[in-house]
Subunit: 330 residues, 2 copies
Amino acid sequence: MRKTSIKDVAKKADVSIAAVSQILNNKGQRFSDHTIEKVLQARDDLGYVPNSAARNLKGAHNRLIGIIVPSFRMPFFADIIQSMQDNAPTDVNLVFLGSTDDNLQNAIYSLVERGAQALIFGKPIPNRAEVNEFLKKRHIPYLVLDQNADINAQDMVQTNEFTGGSLVASHLLSLGHRKIALILPNKLTDNMRQRRAGFLDTLSTANLSPTTIITATLSKHGGLATVHQLIQSQSTAAFVLNDEMAIGVLRGLAYQNIKVPDDISIVGYDDTDYAEFMIPTLTTVMQPVLDIGKAALNMILRRLDHPNLPFQTAFFDVKLVVRESTGLVK
Amino acid sequence: MRKTSIKDVAKKADVSIAAVSQILNNKGQRFSDHTIEKVLQARDDLGYVPNSAARNLKGAHNRLIGIIVPSFRMPFFADIIQSMQDNAPTDVNLVFLGSTDDNLQNAIYSLVERGAQALIFGKPIPNRAEVNEFLKKRHIPYLVLDQNADINAQDMVQTNEFTGGSLVASHLLSLGHRKIALILPNKLTDNMRQRRAGFLDTLSTANLSPTTIITATLSKHGGLATVHQLIQSQSTAAFVLNDEMAIGVLRGLAYQNIKVPDDISIVGYDDTDYAEFMIPTLTTVMQPVLDIGKAALNMILRRLDHPNLPFQTAFFDVKLVVRESTGLVK
DNA sequence: TTTAAAAATGGAAGCGCTTTCAGTCAATTT
DNA sequence: AAATTGACTGAAAGCGCTTCCATTTTTAAA
């Protein structure tokens, strides 16, 4: 029940092992059509698939990139993953791992062990220094997505979160809103902090600050749970730090028979697939997710080819997408 | 710039390679505390991580399961993936691959090459016979999720799709609906076919058939695009074959100012996260996705341990979840 | 003290593959 | 007839690791 090896193919085709290897890899010496045919035939008959472990043991690795995300279920990351997969050159292998904070170490270890030559972090790294040291020691370059980090320690892909938050504030202000609530997930990542900062900053230029700041878990249910407090605050608008929660808020408000945007305007962030299908459609901030995924992959690939180039940070602009969920204050 | 290998650790700790291997793997012979300490220290100093390729070359593989899904963006599969990841024993590695029909062969090949010892297909296999032969030849067991297949060729995990469709029909009939539309994705998978069959079957017991059958791409946009036709059909209810499309339908109807469920009842299928957050909340059929993912993983693991057991099919029941989007016919 | 048994460790083979190299043999070319 | 070329083989090294077996060292029993 042993897997068929190159030896079996060689025997069956009645040629040398070297011949099989070179013919199947299409490099090395030249062989006659006849021999090539024999080898190919034998391979197919036996259903031979080279063992990549053995192959990688020798020099010519194919590139393996490990990607660590917080969850496969978050639309943002689902998009990132899909876009990376779609854009990966055929000789590049991608391995995705969902990881919580506690098993981040494990995730990294497992990826490195499997031969990942580079890592992409789609989530905050709690003990950054340690991780950095570990990876540096192994000469494994990595890239962080949408997180603050030492600009000189690794490549980064960032979106202009500060601007994003600011755009939201401007938009609401321009609609005449003065009583604006802020709804946050209870665990903020760096990029969310910037989002918040941009928002608050612009609010303050109008001498305003949020009527209330409500926190809840980052989920649709979390958003829904904030509704009671939101209503009590008598705000005329709310900035919900991400679409996922905003969807919950929308739902909760509908349960209370509060009309959006007539009674209150709602703004989300991310412009996930669902935003334009909500009722009302959701005003939100769009990040070019597909481009981000693609850029991250390209940057890390480039890093692999040129380990000594200075670290880069790619910046992506965000865009306010105005839809039905925001309107003039009454 | 070579990665540090076991040899380096051995040299640094001033012990044999064999000792390092056995100590780090905590098996084989016994070693003195002193030696163990030296080795561990050397490993940490060097940041050594064993190369799993080399390791797998020898007997003791850790188990690698390849999982092929159509897309990472579909909530159904995002859930499946997440649940598998969450339930995987630590010595089992999961590799997910998104794959279209054209590159299914590649996906399979790449997974096998990487040493996958079993495969799970979350999508239809176009050329089943060929794939089956290929995998059988390599003694790689596989499992199909929610697809029809020869019950004696591999393990399967199925949900009671026929019942699911039937439940929907009964529900609508019981609400008094007689003019019911059916909205399908234009590419049906086996399970969707069964879903449809159950639905039609139960309709026919009331001597009914759909007022209209509309097809569109499987997406929210696809669903939205069917609205015009749906309205023309003057149906009082519609069964949309999955939530994704149903969300689009809901949206489209709102644009036309058609009230759900007052003017028309809508039923989806899948009970994705979003169903209960729609406005109105969506009546749909729930599949125990998390259980399904878990079951699939367990079955294939069991198969690995017992290659000769007869093939199994796990059946999961579905449940109609009645929400706001369906109501009595006017 | 001798001796046998137990404990600690090193040596080396081998996993499947790629790659190199010297060399064989036949078919061409000069 | 000799030299050249093309097609190929066989052997061997080496990738990093595990594992079996032999050997050395220590400890305890005789």
